[in-house]
Structures are given as structure tokens and as C-alpha cells.
């Protein structure tokens, strides 16, 4: 469940019955606004389409009044139940939310049911007070830690951001200078957890950092390590960090052989199922391409959904 005091940002931790904590990122009001505007537009299109269709059908059946009556009922349902019906059918998403990768789930992490979906949209009538400006909803979202509007509070739901994580794995380093440095690391040196996390964060993001900046960043950890290992001061700290990373994550033998087949991981399964081309590999599969990595990455990473983007 929620641990109110420990929340630092919009990531929200949830504990499953397996006693595993996993995280969701809740969506703030201004992330939800564009989705709402999309939905309004779609609602408008549906209503206009329904009007034309029903009135036309009414006059064809020589009952124009019936057509208008049917349209009014249709309007009523679209107006009040658009969100509820879509969130039930699309497992917590309206078309607008789908475009912006938002999803409604209940606060205990389960998918919402039809009751919650419909009620939270009926209660929108309060949230948009006064006069469709959503002041009450905004107020409520500010006061609750999960950015819930009043309808969300009453139904026990929240809106989360779905961040598709297409890639995982370890970076593969192929620069010969680095591989040469690996041997210089004392065999009894072990990498602590925090250093491990720092190293992998650095190495995974390194390709998108310019050369000059890399040394500046790597210096803070690299220089103490250089002294500790007794290496000459001319040693490049960037390369040193990569070498330590290589040792910690691959071990010496593989580093020497340079044949780890698991450099990068899977493209998203859904993407593969949909027949879309897998995003361009972030890490180079072949040593020969090493030099190209940095430039190649700079071009593709903004489009690639991975975390390694700039």
C-alpha cells in the first residue's frame, strides 16, 4: 500500500500479495488535461456524427421527431457515459488517455471495474465546477498525493502513466583502451551496490554524453579509483569507469573475449507482435561498429523509447 511519508516524486510504490514492491508513476492534472481535451474533441465528433446519422435516419423513416428524440438520448449517453464505457472496454483507458499513454487503475493496483469507471465519470459533474473550469477537481488533485480528482477519490481510482520500457540489459563496451584497463584493476576489488548502480547509470547514458563532458562527470568517482588502483594520472577516468563496469558486470574472461551475446535486450513483445520494426539497437552488436555508436545514438535516441535517450 501507500507509504505517504516516503514518496519523493510521482512514483508510487505498491506492494503485491507476493510481498513485492513495484512502482507506478501517477499522472498529474496537467498531464491529464491534454487527454481530456482529446476526449472532448472525440466526443464532439461522435455527437455530430450521431446527429447527422440519426436525424437522417429519422427523416428517411418520415419521423423527423423520432430522429431528434433518438439523438437527444444518444447525446445524453455520450455526454455522461463516454468515459465510463470506454474505460470499461479499454481496461481503464479512453481514446484520449490511450493517445497519451495514461491509464486509470484502482489505488490498490488492480484494473478498474465497470462500476468505478462509470461512477468516476458521473462524478465529473462536481469536478468541473464552477462552470467547466475544473477548479474543484484541480483543488482535489493538489490536495491528494495521487493527484485524484473528487471522482477518483470517491471511486478509489488513480491515473497512471504507462512508460513502456522497451530495453533492458547491460551496455557492451568494445573500446580496446577500456578492455586493456580491465586487467589493471586489482583482482580483489569488489564493486559495492551503490557504486554498481552509479556505474551502470553512467555507462548506459554515456553514449549520449559528449567526450569533454564525460571526463567532467566521471572524475568524481574515477579519480579516487585511479589513486586507489595506483594507475598513472594520465589514465582516462571515463575509460576507467567503463573498465570497472566491465569487470563488475561481465567478469574478466568475457571482457577479454568480448563475446557476450546479451548486450541488449528484447524489443517490446507487443511491438514485435504488431509487426513493427524493432527500434534500432542502442548498443552495438559488433566491435567494428564501436566508433559509430556515439554519433549513431545521438541521431536515433530521441525517437527510441528507451531510457538511454538524452
Amino acid at each position: 500500500m501507500a507509504q505517504p511519508g516516503r514518496q519523493l516524486d510521482t512514483h508510487f510504490e505498491m506492494v503485491t500479495p507476493e510481498n513485492i514492491a513495484f512502482q507506478y508513476r501517477v499522472a498529474g492534472p496537467f498531464q491529464r488535461l491534454p487527454a481530456y481535451l482529446f476526449d472532448l474533441m472525440i466526443q464532439g465528433v461522435i455527437i455530430v456524427g450521431g446527429f447527422l446519422l440519426l436525424v437522417l435516419a429519422g427523416s428517411l423513416a418520415s419521423m423527423p421527431g423520432g430522429g431528434i428524440g433518438a439523438f437527444l438520448v444518444f447525446f445524453f449517453f455520450v455526454n455522461w457515459f463516454y468515459g465510463g464505457i470506454f474505460e470499461t472496454l479499454l481496461n481503464g483507458q479512453t481514446p484520449g488517455k490511450r493517445i497519451l499513454r495514461l491509464r486509470v487503475i484502482s489505488v490498490d493496483g488492480q484494473p478498474i471495474n465497470a462500476l468505478q469507471a462509470i461512477l468516476r465519470n458521473l462524478l465529473r459533474a462536481v469536478d468541473l465546477l464552477p462552470l467547466y473550469t475544473y477548479q474543484l477537481g484541480l483543488f482535489s488533485a493538489i490536495l491528494t498525493e495521487r493527484f485524484q480528482r473528487l471522482g477518483d477519490v470517491a471511486c478509489g481510482t488513480m491515473v497512471i502513466v504507462e512508460e513502456p520500457q522497451y530495453r533492458y540489459g547491460v551496455a557492451r563496451i568494445v573500446e580496446p583502451e577500456v578492455l586493456a584497463l580491465v586487467a589493471a584493476i586489482p583482482p580483489n576489488f569488489s564493486v559495492s551496490r551503490t557504486l554498481g548502480v552509479a556505474l551502470s547509470s553512467y555507462v548506459l547514458r554515456r553514449p549520449s554524453i559528449p567526450w569533454s563532458r564525460r571526463v567532467q562527470i566521471a572524475r568524481h568517482v574515477g579519480e579516487p579509483l585511479r589513486e586507489q588502483f595506483g594507475l598513472p594520472p594520465t589514465t582516462n577516468v571515463d575509460h576507467l569507469l567503463c573498465a570497472v563496469y566491465q569487470r563488475a558486470f561481465f567478469g574478466e574472461t568475457e571482457a577479454a573475449a568480448g563475446t557476450n551475446p546479451f548486450a541488449v535486450a528484447a524489443p517490446h513483445a507487443r511491438q514485435a507482435a504488431a509487426g513493427m520494426p524493432a527500434p534500432a539497437a542502442v548498443f552495438v552488436p559488433e566491435p567494428a561498429a564501436a566508433a559509430v555508436v556515439a554519433t549513431h545514438l545521438a541521431g536515433t535516441s530521441p525517437a527510441s523509447p528507451s531510457e538511454q535517450g538524452p
Binding site: 419521423m63 421527431g65 428524440g69 437527444l72 465529473r124 459533474a125 512508460e163 548506459l204 558486470f249 567478469g251
Partner: protein
């Protein structure tokens, strides 16, 4: 074990789990065989264990966030919410709901408030037409009077179905608004209930003083019981939400509200059904040329249905004692 080796070992499992998630998320192929479900659960537990030990394994941050997402996704599929069941809803609407409403103080309050203000303003408007004018303005009253100035001549099915649509849209929206505003600590719902009571009561009182009263009362007879009850029910459902925040009965305010919301939904559905029925009667029967006796019979029948629903269904024990 080195991270790279570990990833190599787990990667196939994660991919398989991801594949099953994709399959479960698409509505068409949700059903898995028994073996596949067991496999899915095992894969999920495996991913959970990997996530739990991510720190000890020194997994890279991108892998950890991938695992968070994978576990969340699988969790959503494994612990699905119960889907809609017709039989449980029928039971809810026909057995549980009337019993709950029979003992519901909010419904009593909404009933008393609505009818209290309705009757009071009706009386006041009957005594002094100025009172009604101060609420509706004289022009508005004249307009309404004119609307009912011709004796009911009957609309065709064509115009009738148009008004059904209008009443469904207009009246049910008011009802849903009554419900939603109840969330404002019950005060919002109370205010809307009072204002509806005053508006309707003053029209009734005023119309009784004018020459068109026969037409007017003939028009409102048939759909009155359903429509007025529907407003009261919707307001009561809203107040239940609002008062649940104030009087929590020992729960946290948040839990109390969530519980009340779950209970309020069937009530809203009932209110909507009554609004729809009322709209059909109002659009098709009320303006028709059917004899007044028939319209009165419909009013009596609908009142009888409501009494049956609320009292007989609502208090089965009481009935058993009485017989």
C-alpha cells in the same frame, strides 16, 4: 554470478511473461488453458523474485524499471477485478437495494426536504401568485401558462418520441447532477434538492390558481410519481456520499467515502431507470388523448409499484410479522 550471465538466464522468462501479458491484454484471446495459467503464475512469481533481488543482483537501473513495469503488467492480469454479472446485479437491484433504501436515513431526509419545500412553496404560490412570480418571474409563468393553455389534443408518435428523447436527456441529467453535487459534503445535494422542490412546488401552486389548471394537472398526473421519486432517489444517493465524508462510522474518511460510493451506484441506476420510465410516460402518454381515467390509473399503478418496491421488498421481515 555476473549480471550479464544472470540476464542471459532470465531473459527468456521475462520475454515469455511479456508475451503472455500481451495475449491476456487483448480481449479476443483472454482465455488460457490450465497449463498456460500455471505457467503464467510461475513466470510472474519468477519476475517478482527477480525484482525483489534486483538490488542484491546489482541489476542496472533500466532493467529494474523494466521489471517494475513487467511485474505491474502481470499483476494487473493476475488480479483481475470481477467482471459484470447480470445475476448479481438483479439480486442487488431487486433484493438488496430496496432493503437498504428502506432503512436509509438519507432517503428519508431527501424525501422530507424535497416534499417539504415542494408542499410549502406550492401552498405559498397558491395563496399569493406574487410568490411564484418572485421565483420564476412573471414572464416565465406566463409562458408556462400558455404552454398548457390548449386542452391536450394528443401528439403523434413522431412528436411524442421527440419529447421522450428530450425528457430523457434533460431530466436524467438533472438527476445525475443532483447525485454528483451530493459529494460536496451533502450540502450541494441538499441545496439542489431544495431548489428543485421550490421550483416545482411553485409551478404547481401557481398553476392551480390559473384557468389552465385542468390541462396542467391532467398532463402531470401520469408521470408524476416516477419523476418526483426519481429526483428524491438521486438526491439521496448523492447525500449518502456527502454524509459518508462527515459521519464516517469509525472508518477513515477516505474508506467511508469509497464504501458509500460502491453502495450508491445501484441507487443511481434505480433513479435513472425511473427517469427513463417517467420520460416515456411524459412523452407518449401524458400529452395523448387517452381518457383521464387511464392516466390516473397509470399514476396509481406506478405509485403502487413504488410502494411495493420500497415497502414490501424493503422490509420483508416486517411483512412476515404482520401476516
Amino acid at each position: 554470478m555476473r549480471v550479464a550471465e544472470l540476464l542471459a538466464e532470465r531473459r527468456e522468462n521475462w520475454r515469455e511473461l511479456e508475451g503472455v501479458c500481451v495475449q491476456l491484454e487483448s480481449r479476443r484471446q483472454r482465455r488460457l488453458g490450465a497449463r498456460a495459467i500455471t505457467r503464467f503464475a510461475a513466470l510472474y512469481r519468477g519476475a517478482c523474485a527477480d525484482l525483489a533481488l534486483a538490488d542484491a543482483y546489482q541489476l542496472p537501473p533500466n532493467t529494474v524499471s523494466y521489471l517494475h513495469q513487467l511485474v505491474g503488467r502481470a499483476h494487473n492480469q493476475l488480479y483481475r477485478a470481477r467482471s459484470f454479472q447480470l445475476s448479481s446485479w438483479t439480486h442487488e437491484m431487486l433484493v438488496a437495494l430496496p432493503q437498504r433504501l428502506y432503512h436509509d436515513n438519507c432517503l428519508r431526509l431527501a424525501f422530507v426536504v424535497f416534499w417539504g419545500f415542494f408542499l410549502a412553496t406550492m401552498f405559498l404560490s397558491y395563496v399569493s401568485p406574487n410568490f411564484a412570480a418572485s421565483i420564476w418571474t412573471q414572464e416565465g409563468l406566463n409562458q408556462m401558462e400558455e404552454m398548457h393553455s390548449q386542452s391536450i389534443s394528443g401528439k403523434g408518435l413522431n412528436a411524442g418520441s421527440m419529447s421522450v428523447g428530450f425528457y430523457v436527456q434533460h431530466n436524467t441529467s438533472i438527476g445525475l447532477q443532483c447525485f454528483a453535487f451530493g459529494l460536496l459534503l451533502g450540502v450541494g445535494g441538499l441545496l439542489i434538492t431544495i431548489s428543485n422542490g421550490i421550483l416545482l412546488g411553485s409551478v404547481f401552486g401557481y398553476m392551480a390558481t390559473t384557468s389552465v389548471r385542468d390541462n396542467f394537472f391532467q398532463f402531470v398526473t401520469a408521470h408524476g410519481p416516477f419523476e418526483l421519486t426519481a429526483i428524491v432517489i438521486c438526491s439521496a444517493a448523492g447525500m449518502r456520499l456527502g454524509f459518508a465524508i462527515v459521519d464516517t462510522k469509525g472508518l477513515t474518511r477516505y474508506d467511508s467515502l469509497r464504501l458509500a460510493t460502491r453502495e450508491a451506484m445501484p441507487t443511481v441506476v434505480l433513479g435513472m431507470i425511473l427517469f427513463f420510465l417517467a420520460a416515456c410516460i411524459e412523452g407518449l402518454i401524458s400529452p395523448s388523448q387517452l381518457p383521464y381515467a387511464l392516466k390516473a390509473a397509470i399514476a396509481v399503478a406506478s405509485s403502487a409499484i413504488l410502494v411495493l418496491y420500497f415497502v414490501l421488498h424493503g422490509n420483508p421481515q416486517g411483512n412476515r410479522l404482520a401476516t
